[in-house]
């Protein structure tokens, strides 16, 4: 029961996990796509900004370059840069300059370090590359200071033409710091949104999986109840009647009802059988007791008529005594079974060996050979009194069948999950007709037998959850085989007994 619940819980947990993983992976994939798209968008807008600014400087630069109007050139450059930045502290513009086609500085945002009228002297390798690219530029282009995701700056390069002659180059370098912080901010937003969506998705996933699993749990619990022999009334209304689970629930309900009917029928049959068996036993007891009683009453009647006839007394008293003994034997057998049923004691297989002595007493001085072979491990636990009774009954039966001479083999061994107790004799064997009635109460082939020994044996084997088998052929001896479950659950046995 408990294990079933856990496995169902696992199913719902798995469901939740799978839903969460799907939602999360979809969410994060979309998130990543948005972040990357944002990155490219920001980068593109920065590229456009650098080109736009460079173009706007180039537009006014043309005339100033031609007129050698350094101050206007500088003012325009500075104004554009300042306008773009909003304030001077903004680090958006890293540098801006106007060069002549040979690379001489015509105007520079930082004239102190880049003197006008001198050739620009780039310090770093990247600056040198940007410088030579700008000198070669024939059309506007963007120069990147680094790789795709590690770009320290973006530079717009716009050559200035007058009458199709290149008269200068405008270079405007923008910092990517803003780009990175923008991208980071957007990434944080996307991640937060995605995480929230994943959480919400998982929450609904959990609700959904619970809803989905609940009918299964109810069905499973229902099946458990059936296993225990109860027939619960399922709350069918919680199932979607058209869905697969609804169908399953309907089928289950139908099956449960069928099983209930079947069990009722079986119970009735069992009760009938019990009545029949009781009737048979009663009839048997009545018949068995009636025979000696009739003899005893006859004898007593005769003795009453001839109270002084000593010969008659001597003849009839032993008969009366024999009849009463017979009755006592029958009653004792019935009582014996009842007595044994009440007792519970467990032991290792050595308890079987105790029967050896008893068997020898039964054999007395008859020329019967008994071979004893007990191979059961010490770990095996046996319901002592019952198993002893079973084996002893089988041995007694064998000795009686052999009459005066023969061989009896006792074997006990383990076969997989079964314990096998075997008693074999080399007696006359059993006819087919007799074999079918062998375990009926009061069936006996011997005139002095009660016919209860094998019936009791059969019942006890059944009560231990085992089975009994007879292998016999006329003239070739008989083998009784008792199969018992190897793990004899004490409680179960007690329950069965109760």
């Amino acid at each position: 029961m408990g294990s079933t619940r856990i496995s169902l819980n696992n199913l719902s947990a798995k469901f939740l996990m799978v839903i969460s993983i799907i939602v999360a992976s979809v969410g994060f994939t979309i998130g990543a796509a948005v972040i990357i798209q944002d990155w490219f968008r920001f980068q593109q807008s920065l590229e456009e900004k650098s080109l736009l600014l460079a173009h706007s400087i180039a537009l006014s630069a043309s005339e100033a370059i031609l007129q050698n109007d350094t101050w206007s050139l500088h003012k325009n450059l500075r104004k554009t840069a300042l306008r773009a930045n909003g304030n001077e502290r903004d680090t958006g513009i890293l540098s801006g300059m106007v060069l002549d086609p040979q690379g001489v500085v015509l105007a520079h945002i930082d004239p102190a370090n880049n003197p006008i009228g001198l050739s620009l002297s780039p310090a770093t390798a990247v600056d040198k590359k940007a410088f030579s690219e700008s000198l070669q530029a024939k059309t506007a282009k963007v120069f990147h200071g680094g790789s795709l995701f590690n770009d320290p700056f973006i530079e717009g390069i716009v050559p200035v033409f007058s009458d199709r002659k290149k008269i200068g180059i405008v270079r405007l370098r923008l910092s990517t710091v803003e780009l990175y912080s923008q991208a980071r901010r957007s990434a944080m937003t996307v991640l937060a949104t995605t995480t929230l969506l994943v959480l919400i998705g998982s929450f609904f996933g959990a609700l959904f999986s619970r809803r989905l699993i609940k009918p299964l749990t109810i069905l499973a619990n229902g099946m458990q109840s059936i296993g225990r022999g109860q027939f619960p009334d399922l709350p069918l209304d919680i199932f979607d009647k058209k869905g697969e689970i609804g169908q399953l629930a309907k089928s289950f309900k139908w099956m449960s009802r069928q099983l209930e009917d079947k069990k009722q029928l079986e119970d009735e049959m069992a009760a009938n059988e019990k009545m029949v068996a009781l009737g048979r036993i009663s009839a048997g007891v009545a018949h068995e007791v009636n025979n000696p009683l009739a003899g005893i009453l006859n004898c007593l009647d005769t003795l009453k008529k001839h109270p002084d006839d000593k010969e008659l007394v001597d003849r009839y008293l032993p008969i009366i005594e024999k009849g009463l003994h017979r009755i006592r034997q029958i009653v004792a057998s019935l009582l014996g079974e009842l007595r044994v049923e009440g007792k519970q004691e467990f032991s290792d297989p050595s308890c079987l060996d105790d029967l050896w002595e008893l068997a020898l007493i039964e054999i007395d001085d008859k020329p019967i050979q008994l071979n004893w072979d007990n191979r059961l491990d010490k770990e095996v636990v046996l319901n002592k009194h019952r198993v002893q009774q079973i084996v002893l009954n089988m041995l007694k039966n064998a000795f009686q069948v052999l009459k005066n001479q023969g061989t009896v083999d006792f074997r006990a061994f383990r076969d997989g999950n079964c314990l096998v107790l075997e008693v074999q004799d080399d007696g006359p064997g059993i006819t087919k007709e007799n074999k079918d009635r062998l375990f009926d109460p009061f069936f006996s082939t011997r005139p002095d037998g009660t016919g209860l020994g094998l019936w009791i044996t059969y019942r006890m084997v059944q009560s231990l959850g085992g089975s009994i088998d007879v292998i016999s052929e006329k003239g070739k001896g008989t083998t009784f085989q008792v199969f018992l479950p190897a793990q004899q659950d004490k409680q179960e046995t007690q329950k069965e007994t109760a």
């Binding site: 050698n68 350094t70 101050w71 500088h74 003012k75 500075r78 004239p111 003197p115 006008i116 009228g117």
Partner: protein, 297 residues
């Protein structure tokens, strides 16, 4: 005759209307880089003041260069102008300008030319600026172009090859800016403007320092077209020269950092005339040298 008599009042009224129209037409007053022109609200106040004193609207007109203002004076688009001493002394045929009044600065109608450099630079003498970038204000400015040219020439430097690069800002204040921003290593400015900026815009002016000051020159004068009526000329002269005699005028003069306007002889500009002539002769000589292939570097 009757008809003529009838016509007379009509003519009279027409004359009257035209005089009235003349009176309502604004007097145009040209401004050049000799004053800080960026203070627009001040010149609105100044125009209001002059209008009130003269009984006619006065309008200030600004152009980028001296040349443009001079052209406007010549073509009659301006009645008055505040120009530099250098354009004033240049010969014109026929002469169309007359001197009206000269501002009095620090008690006299004089100013100087300053050679300035960036405050943090190591320049101590104008000679050290050889091969540097230099900013002039206007090709027609005395303090901002003529004087440094003259000074270098008298010290036997070839002015045309002395600096690596030169440019005009057309504004003394912007020359100070160019030096402060290190676009130029040095610049030539009007002492009045530099002192003015030092007080009104110290964060820029303080980034520069003066390494050379010229001798005194006649302060940039107020001139009038000769064709302007005597009446109007007199009104303008009186309005300006009497500014320091009333509180409103005094306040305007204080804003300009001037003591007043006075009437002086055109002789105070003779020094500029001499310099200009010397430069001209030198230029002719040097261009002749160039033609003869005897120019020295």
């Amino acid at each position: 005759m009757k008809r003529v008599l009838l016509l007379f009042p009509v003519l009279l009224s027409l004359l009257f209307i035209s005089v009235r129209a003349e009176e309502r037409k604004p007097v145009r007053f040209g401004l050049t880089a000799v004053v800080v022109r960026e203070n627009l609200r001040f010149f609105d106040d100044m125009a209001d003041y002059l209008s009130q004193k003269m009984g006619r609207p006065v309008k200030f007109v600004q152009r980028k260069s001296y040349r443009e203002i001079m052209d406007m004076l010549e073509s009659g688009k301006l009645e008055f102008a505040w120009i530099c001493g250098y354009p004033f002394i240049q010969k014109r045929k026929p002469e169309y300008l007359k001197l009206l009044t000269v501002p009095i600065y620090k008690g006299a109608p004089f100013y100087r030319s300053y050679i300035i450099v960036h405050h943090d630079s190591s320049y101590k003498d104008i000679a050290e600026l050889k091969g540097s970038v230099f900013a002039f204000s206007d090709p027609d400015s005395n303090s901002g172009f003529l004087y440094p040219q003259f000074f270098l020439t008298t010290r036997n430097f070839n002015f045309n090859q002395f600096f690596r690069q030169t440019f005009f800002t057309y504004n003394h204040a912007e020359t100070v800016e160019a030096v402060a921003a290190r676009v130029a290593d040095g610049g030539a400015v009007d002492s009045y403007i530099w002192d003015f900026l030092k007080k009104t815009n110290p964060q820029i002016a303080q980034k520069t320092r003066v390494i050379h000051a010229s001798s005194l020159f006649g302060f940039p004068p107020i001139v009038a077209r000769k064709s302007v009526s005597v009446d109007l000329t007199k009104k303008m002269t009186r309005a300006l020269t009497e500014m320091n005699k009333n509180p409103a005028g005094k306040q305007l003069l204080n804003t300009l950092h001037l003591d007043g306007f006075g009437q002086f002889s055109a002789d105070i500009f003779d020094d500029i005339k001499v310099m200009a002539e010397k430069i001209k002769n030198r230029q002719i000589t040097s261009s002749l040298d160039r033609l003869n292939g005897t120019a020295k570097p």
